[in-house]
């Protein structure tokens, strides 16, 4: 069943596109329908947006450490909605900076890096398919994504500048230009997210169809590598959650521009409706941004420990549980929003329960390294750090899940610390691990390990210097989203901590340089990579570089699960999925 689509298409693609000369430059690099090229298009674009989002964060940190001090060098060049005539960041401009930092990082960096890059690049290669089920939609998805980024960032040139009501855009602030003062920016935000949502939906439908229909013979669902399971579940979350955001963004656009009152306080509008819609999307979104990273990290930990993943099925069921429960916890963002107090009790309960599958995953990662033979590659370092940082981010979440404690730390820097431990120490470290790990298959060359380790050490140290003290600031009662903490008596004594965080954040920003240099240098000058540099078992490591259009010369057959490492009785310590185990060897699972 699973090969019915795969076979004819493979031969067809081979015969029609086998010769690269037949593809024009435009078809090969611009409007490419090859999933690998699209994956790389996503990679370069979202790395660019990562720099944009990172620079915005530097602006945010500069203002918090040095409020009212003119920005050196570039202060005079910045537009008037952002800085005063002296070149210092204005309070409204500060609001715009953190709004766009979060919007860019969530919608243009983490989501496309995890889902766009690794979803596109890995799904067909890992399941033994020649391409995605709908290559045209795939190409469309990338261009819609790029278009949404351009729309969002274009408001920089509007006279009132970027949107400034937070990435959560709570109405009625966001719904009325007389309150937020950024009609054009806020409208761009709505349109940008709407278009971005179309890209996500197209991608998600494509992933689900591909994984269900195009697996190679023998690739049963429980033989899928964990990144594929993670992306599969994530695609369902996208498909169910993103349309809600798109609808809400369209309604907000109407409120803002056509005088409707979906979210107004008057004319029968309901401000809390926005929050319910936003967080009904927003909480699954949190898992959309961490599940793929969990999948990628699981594989990297298993390969580099030379051990099967501990509790493969427990890992899969834990992700399914997270995906399902993720839809009934959104109210924990709204304990103190004015929502019924009884509802808070139920959302607090579901939130406590959803912590369980995350705990299970952590224990299974620890079980995987137990008894292993760990190779400390750069990818492995980032993956192992992911686990620790995710533990911190998970444990700090328990404070907010307890409603009375949330009464105190809601909207403080504690939550800023929490989200960055999950999204930066979690998702982005996972992305770095995955880039170092799959780089050889993407570009046919190896990245430099020494520079990789330097990147890791700097990122790890300065990440913690930047974000750990934010827990303390939060407990000290430092509100998030205030342009000038020194305005408050209880925060004035905290200012040195803010300065320390800012200097660490600058160093963290600079730590990206060794990565970028290593990345671009290695694309052209790195040592040629062997077909399977990490001695890995999954199918993508059986194809040469560059993988031909159509990926596999003959459709592979899969004989066992994805993580058969250190099988007793075999000379090599890994058994690829397309090679049957000799009769003398007994595999204990799958």
């Amino acid at each position: 069943m699973s090969q019915t689509l795969a076979h004819p298409e493979a031969s067809e693609v081979e015969s029609s596109h086998g010769h690269h000369t037949e593809l024009s430059f435009f078809r090969k690099y611009i409007w490419s329908e090859d999933h690998k090229t699209i994956g790389l298009q996503y990679l370069f674009t979202s790395l660019f947006f990562l720099l944009v989002g990172g620079l915005l964060a530097m602006g945010v940190r500069y203002q918090l450490a040095f409020p009212g001090v003119p920005v050196p060098v570039i202060g005079g060049l910045l537009p008037s909605w952002l800085v005063t005539s002296a070149g210092a960041i204005q309070p409204g401009g500060y609001n715009a900076l953190f709004t766009m930092h979060a919007t860019v990082m969530v919608f243009l960096v983490i989501m496309p890096l995890l889902i766009g890059v690794f979803g596109n690049f890995l799904i067909p290669l890992k399941i033994g398919a020649p391409d995605m089920a709908f290559p045209f939609f795939n190409a469309l998805s990338y261009w819609l994504f790029l278009f949404s980024g351009i729309i969002l960032l274009s408001s920089f040139f509007a006279p009132t500048g970027f949107p400034a009501s937070g990435w959560t855009s709570y109405a009625p602030l966001s719904a009325h230009a007389q309150y937020n003062g950024t009609q054009i920016g806020q409208s761009c935000w709505c349109v940008g997210l709407f278009v971005n949502g179309l890209a996500s939906i197209a991608g998600a439908a494509n992933y689900i169809t591909t994984i269900i229909n195009m697996r190679a013979p023998g690739m049963k669902m429980f033989r899928l590598p964990l990144p594929i399971w993670a992306l599969f579940i994530t695609a369902f979350l996208l498909l169910l959650a993103v349309p809600v955001l798109s609808a809400a963004a369209a309604m907000l656009f109407c409120d803002l521009n056509f005088g409707t009152s979906f979210f107004s306080a008057s004319n029968y509008g309901q401000p809390l409706l926005w929050q319910h819609l936003f967080w009904f999307f927003g909480h699954p979104e949190v898992y959309i941004m961490i599940l793929p990273a969990m999948g990628l990290v699981s594989e990297i930990v298993s390969v580099n420990s030379r051990k099967p993943i501990f509790g493969y099925k427990a890992m899969v069921f834990a992700m399914v549980a997270i995906g399902v429960l993720g839809f009934i916890v959104w109210g924990h963002h709204m304990f103190v929003s004015g929502m019924n107090l009884l509802l808070s009790a139920t959302f607090s309960f579901s939130t406590m329960v959803i912590a369980v599958p995350s705990a299970i995953k952590t224990f299974n990662w620890m079980g995987t390294v137990w008894g292993g033979s760990i190779k400390y590659t750069t990818a492995m370092c980032f993956a192992l750090a992911f686990v620790s940082m995710f533990v911190i981010g998970g444990l700090s979440g328990i404070y907010m899940a307890a409603t009375p404690v949330d009464l105190f730390i809601h909207h403080t820097y504690f939550i800023v610390a929490h989200i960055h431990y999950v999204l930066f120490g979690g998702s982005l470290f996972g992305v770095f691990a995955a880039i170092y790990f799959w780089f050889p298959k993407m570009f046919g060359r190896m990245m430099n390990e020494t520079w990789g380790k330097i990147h890791f050490a700097l990122a790890f140290i300065f990440f913690n210097c930047t974000f750990f003290p934010m827990h303390n600031l939060g407990l000290n009662g430092m509100m998030r989203r205030i342009a000038d903490p020194t305005q408050y008596e209880h925060l004035r004594s905290q200012q040195p901590v803010n300065v320390f965080i800012t200097l660490s954040a600058f160093a963290l920003g600079l730590s990206t340089i060794p990565f970028l240099v290593n990345f671009f240098y290695s694309i052209f000058k790195g040592p040629k990579a062997p077909i399977n540099p990490w001695k890995s078992t999954t199918l993508e490591w059986t194809v040469p570089w560059p993988p031909p259009h159509g990926n596999f010369e003959t459709t592979p057959t899969v004989y066992h699960g994805p993580y058969e490492y250190s099988v007793p009785g075999l000379e090599e310590d890994y058994l690829p999925q397309d090679q049957p185990a000799p009769e003398t060897v007994r595999l204990t699972a799958h």
């Binding site: 309070p91 609001n95 009625p172 309150y179 008057s266 401000p271 030379r306 099967p308 509790g311 427990a314 107090l341 808070s344 309960f349 406590m352 329960v353 912590a355 369980v356 952590t362 224990f363 299974n364 620890m366 390294v369 137990w370 008894g371 292993g372 033979s373 400390y376 620790s388 533990v391 700090s396 328990i398 899940a401 307890a402 009375p404 404690v405 949330d406 009464l407 105190f408 403080t412 330097i454 140290i461 300065f462 303390n472 407990l475 000290n476 509100m479 205030i482 000038d484 305005q487 008596e489 209880h490 004594s493 905290q494 040195p496 901590v497 490492y565 250190s566 099988v567 204990t588 699972a589």
Partner: protein, 287 residues
């Protein structure tokens, strides 16, 4: 081999240098008089209960963190790649999975029970009969407060009546609203329960006092009247808006003065007298 150790040395040198850099920044920080790393001193009854729960979670999560990380790092060192040693071939252990599913589930549900109980006690329980009710109006970008007059009642109010000449939306038909007076400062007597009636004129604001461990969004178009607290310490505090409300959000705050009952009575008498004075004499805005 020599090359490798040199590289390791350089690596450690870089790490140490970075820590020194970080340390030097710390040492330039001014000398602190109050708690630098911890919560501001609690100043309300409910806050004391909340702090107990915070400490409980702190020790719980801290214990779990230390335990898991010690085990994890031990594994990472012990099971590093060594020549001639092959990894253990194991796909997992169902009994272990069961154990580490059941234990966290029990802990989390227990924690939910504890915290939900407290949520009820602190926020949802009936406030004592001597509770004083104070109206709070939030707007871009400030707060103002309304006190009941001699009758001790704020009277009926409706957010739909809020306007420039009636900022708190008092119902003119309710005689209890007649003697209400306004203040720019939230003056409250110590050890007396206070209930705040929260309303907003434009966007969502918040009522946040870290020392009281209280946060509540103030949503336009409705009145939120379930937040109450009992201040336990005489002193000055700041009420902060903690919900992004526009370009002036960063500076939207109000002074809170918790005073002794005597001082409060004195202030209250002055304010009611000023409020009842015939029109033309300017009402005193200071406390």
């Amino acid at each position: 081999m020599a090359k490798k150790s040199l590289r390791t040395n350089i690596f450690f040198f870089v790490v140490v240098a970075l820590f020194l850099f970080a340390g030097s920044v710390c040492s330039h920080a001014e000398v602190r008089t109050s708690d630098l790393w911890w919560m501001p001193e609690v100043a309300s009854k409910g806050g004391e209960l909340i702090d107990k729960l915070t400490y409980f979670i702190y020790y719980l999560t801290g214990g779990v963190f230390v335990l898991t990380q010690v085990v994890y790092i031990y594994f990472l060192v012990k099971y590093r790649s060594r020549k001639g040693v092959r990894a253990t071939y194991s796909h997992g252990n169902n009994r272990l999975e069961l154990v580490w599913t059941a234990i966290p589930t029990a802990i989390f549900i227990g924690l939910w029970g504890y915290s939900n109980h407290l949520w009820w006690d602190v926020l949802h329980a009936q406030s004592p009969p001597d509770t004083m009710e104070i109206g709070v109006l939030a707007y871009q970008f400030g707060f103002s407060f309304q006190y009941p007059g001699a009758d001790g009642k704020l009277g009926r109010s409706d957010v739909n009546l809020i306007g420039n000449d009636n900022p708190f939306g008092n119902d003119p038909k309710d005689p209890a609203t007649k003697d209400n007076f306004q203040s720019g400062v939230l003056e409250i007597p110590v050890n007396r329960p206070v209930r705040v009636r929260l309303a907003s004129r434009d966007v969502i604001h918040a009522f946040y006092v870290p020392q009281f461990r209280v946060y509540q969004d103030i949503v336009p178009g409705r009145t939120i009247d379930w937040v109450w607290f009992t201040p336990t310490k005489v002193g000055s505090f700041q009420l902060a808006c903690n919900q992004l409300c526009g370009s002036g959000h960063y500076n939207m705050k109000a002074q809170i003065e918790v005073v002794t009952q005597e001082n409060f009575d004195k202030w209250y008498k002055e304010k009611t007298a000023a409020a009842n004075a015939p029109a033309g004499s300017a009402p005193a805005q200071s406390k």
